[in-house]
Each structure stands twice: as structure tokens, then as C-alpha cells.
């Protein structure tokens, strides 16, 4: 009965593997990143494949930022100031982020934000 009262604690589940049913949405596909190729090329195939999904997430983050600061100043700050930060990021990450932004056709500052989200989010 406790599973119908928050925090909805269940009896320990068993026989859940192989994953199926309502707690399993899908398997995850594999991609290769060749570290011998230049940082600007490493992610091209993957980003080309996932571009639309990435656009959706970045838009959601932008919407969230605009909801927090309705004047649009926060997104403006991200778009103006974070591209400057990319040059300070350690190699090869800055180069890779620039290439991802270019392939996805996204503002560089917003891709930088996505890549430093952990540090931002712990605020």
C-alpha cells in the first residue's frame, strides 16, 4: 500500500532485466568518436544525426532562461559572453564545442552553456 503514498516506495523489484514494460523507453544507440581525427571533425557525424534533438533541448533551455528573466537579457548575456569563454576552455574541448555549434547551426554561447551546465546547475 505504501507505493500509492509519496514517496511511492515500492517493494524491491525483481526480474526487470531484460528491460521491457512501462519503465523502459528504449535502448541506446552507439557512435564512435575517433580521437585521432581533428577535434573539429570528431563529432560531425553524430551531431548531424542528432541535430534536431539537440535543437529541441537548447530551445527548451532558452525558454527556461527567458521564463526566469523575461526581458531576454539572460539569453543575450549567454549569446554575447559565453562565446568569449570558449577560447579559455582546455584543449581539445573548446575546439570540439565550436565544431558542434557550427554543425548544429546553434549559437556558440548556448552550446557552451550546455557543456558547462553542471557547474551552472550546482548554483
Amino acid at each position: 500500500s505504501t507505493q500509492f503514498i509519496p514517496p511511492y516506495t515500492e517493494e524491491c523489484r525483481t526480474e526487470m532485466y531484460p528491460p521491457a514494460g512501462p519503465t523502459f523507453r528504449s535502448a541506446v544507440s552507439w557512435y564512435t568518436v575517433d580521437l585521432d581525427s581533428p577535434p573539429s571533425d570528431r563529432w560531425t557525424a553524430l551531431i548531424t544525426d542528432k541535430k534536431n534533438d539537440l535543437l529541441v533541448v537548447i530551445k527548451a533551455i532558452r525558454d527556461f532562461a527567458n521564463a526566469l528573466v523575461p526581458s531576454g537579457r539572460l539569453v543575450e548575456l549567454v549569446d554575447i559572453s559565453l562565446p568569449l569563454m570558449v577560447e579559455t576552455l582546455p584543449k581539445p574541448y573548446g575546439e570540439e564545442i565550436k565544431a558542434i555549434a557550427a554543425v548544429a547551426g546553434l549559437p556558440l554561447g548556448e552550446v557552451v552553456l550546455y557543456n558547462i551546465f553542471y557547474e551552472v546547475f550546482t548554483v
Partner: protein
């Protein structure tokens, strides 16, 4: 997040995690889900990082994110991180970075650098303990030999605590959610008690990646923030991951 490193009776090491992300970033009332968590799910991918045409390490990532949160260096070690909330958080680190104090490391980049460059559990542990960070974090590290598994509790500047597997003390697994292990978790967010109950109920004899998946499928360890579950085995460098859903009723975190 919930991360676990466990050792079975025969000395095999397994590492599994739920990645929970997106709290307070917009709640979809209609679908009873977190907006960002849902939108991240299609971006989950497994990556095979190769050098000289050979696998160097594998990871579960979000497309477009060049750092790492979950990975295995085959036959050497496994590594995950969980978020640690602290007043001296990422904001201070970012400000320092902007003002030119750049001796700290971004968390995702450090994870990738460790998987790329460390060649043993001990080497990885040293890097994770000693490198200055921009934000606090928990690192959960598994090795390839008996007793090699630990939770490293990090502030931005130094390691606060390292909790290791200790079979003699009966500690055959280490489990981390998002609270310092020596403190009680927030009563509204106690995934630790449920997860530990299920691990103890499973027993060391029966622990496998499959039974760890069972533990990570039990609410509230599985919750509305859970984006993916990854199962790793250091031996052979096995990594598999699954995108998750938490059907109602389910805790939002």
C-alpha cells in the same frame, strides 16, 4: 542520481547508475514530467572513444556534450559522478574562471581526461582526489581488483572523504545518491534507504548487472528525473544503457 559499485562473491566488480537530471527546470503538468529530463532522453547515446583504431574507453553521453558523466575504461576502471549541492558551488568557480583564475577543472572535462589518460584505478583515484574543480561533486570509481571501489566526496578545492569497499567489514558495495554518506539524506529525497534495502536484499552472492538493474528500477530510486540507467562491468569493458520512464505514481525526484 544513484550510483553503485558492487563486488560479488567471486571478486567481479559491477558498476551501475541512474542519471537523474532536470529538477526545477519546468514541470509539464499534462504529462506529469520534467520538461528538460524528457527532452534530454532522445539525446542519450553510447560512445566508443577510439585511438589507433582501438577502443580506449566507452561512455554514456548526451549528444553535443563533450565531457563525460558515465564511462568505463575496459579492464581498468569504471567511473560515474553524482551532483553535490553546496553553497560553495559552481557559481564561485565560474566567476573565478571568468576573472582569470583558471587552475580548476570543469567536471565533465576532468571525467573525460581521467578516462582518457589514467591507466589504473589508483591513478584515476589520485586524479579525482587531487585535481581542483570548479564545482563540488561525488565521483564513484570502480576498479578491476577485489576491494577497488570508492565514493570520493569532493569540494571545489579538495577531497573531503573517500569511502572504499571493505569486504572485511562487510561493505561489499558503495552507494551514492546526492548526499554526503555520513549525513542523513533529506527526508523528502531518501533514495539511499530504498536502494540500500534492495542491495542488501539482493545479497552479495546474487549481485549481477541484472540484479543491479532491478535495484535501479525500484521507486523512488527510479523517479521522474531518471533519464537513463547504465550498467557496466570493468572486465571486458561492458557498458549498456537504457532510457527510462517512471510511470505514475512516481516521485518527481
Amino acid at each position: 542520481c544513484t550510483s553503485v559499485v558492487a563486488e560479488d562473491d567471486e571478486g567481479n566488480l559491477f558498476h551501475a547508475r541512474n542519471l537523474d537530471f532536470g529538477i526545477f527546470m519546468g514541470w509539464d503538468v499534462k504529462n506529469k514530467s520534467w520538461i528538460i529530463s524528457e527532452k534530454l532522453k532522445p539525446l542519450v547515446i553510447n560512445l566508443n572513444f577510439k585511438r589507433n583504431n582501438q577502443t580506449l574507453f566507452k561512455s554514456t553521453n548526451f549528444a553535443g556534450y563533450v565531457g563525460l558523466l558515465t564511462g568505463v575504461k575496459p579492464n581498468l576502471f569504471t567511473l560515474t559522478m553524482n551532483e553535490r549541492f553546496n553553497l560553495d558551488g559552481g557559481f564561485v568557480g565560474i566567476l573565478e574562471w571568468i576573472f582569470g583564475k583558471r587552475d580548476g577543472m570543469w567536471m565533465g572535462f576532468l571525467m573525460r581526461s581521467v578516462l582518457e589518460n589514467a591507466n589504473s584505478y589508483k591513478e584515476a583515484q589520485t586524479l579525482l582526489v587531487q585535481t581542483k574543480l570548479l564545482a563540488p561533486a561525488y565521483f564513484i570509481l570502480g576498479g578491476n581488483q577485489t576491494g577497488q571501489g570508492c565514493i570520493i566526496t569532493r569540494s571545489r578545492l579538495h577531497s573531503i572523504d573517500v569511502l572504499e569497499l571493505d569486504l572485511k567489514l562487510g561493505r561489499w558495495y558503495v552507494l551514492e545518491t546526492n548526499y554526503d554518506h555520513w549525513n542523513e539524506p533529506l527526508f523528502l529525497d531518501d533514495r539511499r534507504t530504498s536502494a540500500m534495502k534492495c542491495m542488501n536484499q539482493t545479497t552479495q552472492t546474487n549481485i549481477t548487472p541484472k540484479t543491479m538493474y532491478d535495484v535501479l528500477s525500484t521507486k523512488p530510486v527510479l523517479n521522474k528525473l531518471t533519464v537513463y540507467t547504465t550498467l557496466m562491468q570493468v572486465s571486458g569493458g561492458k557498458l549498456e544503457s537504457f532510457i527510462r520512464d517512471c510511470p505514475n505514481p512516481c516521485m518527481p525526484w
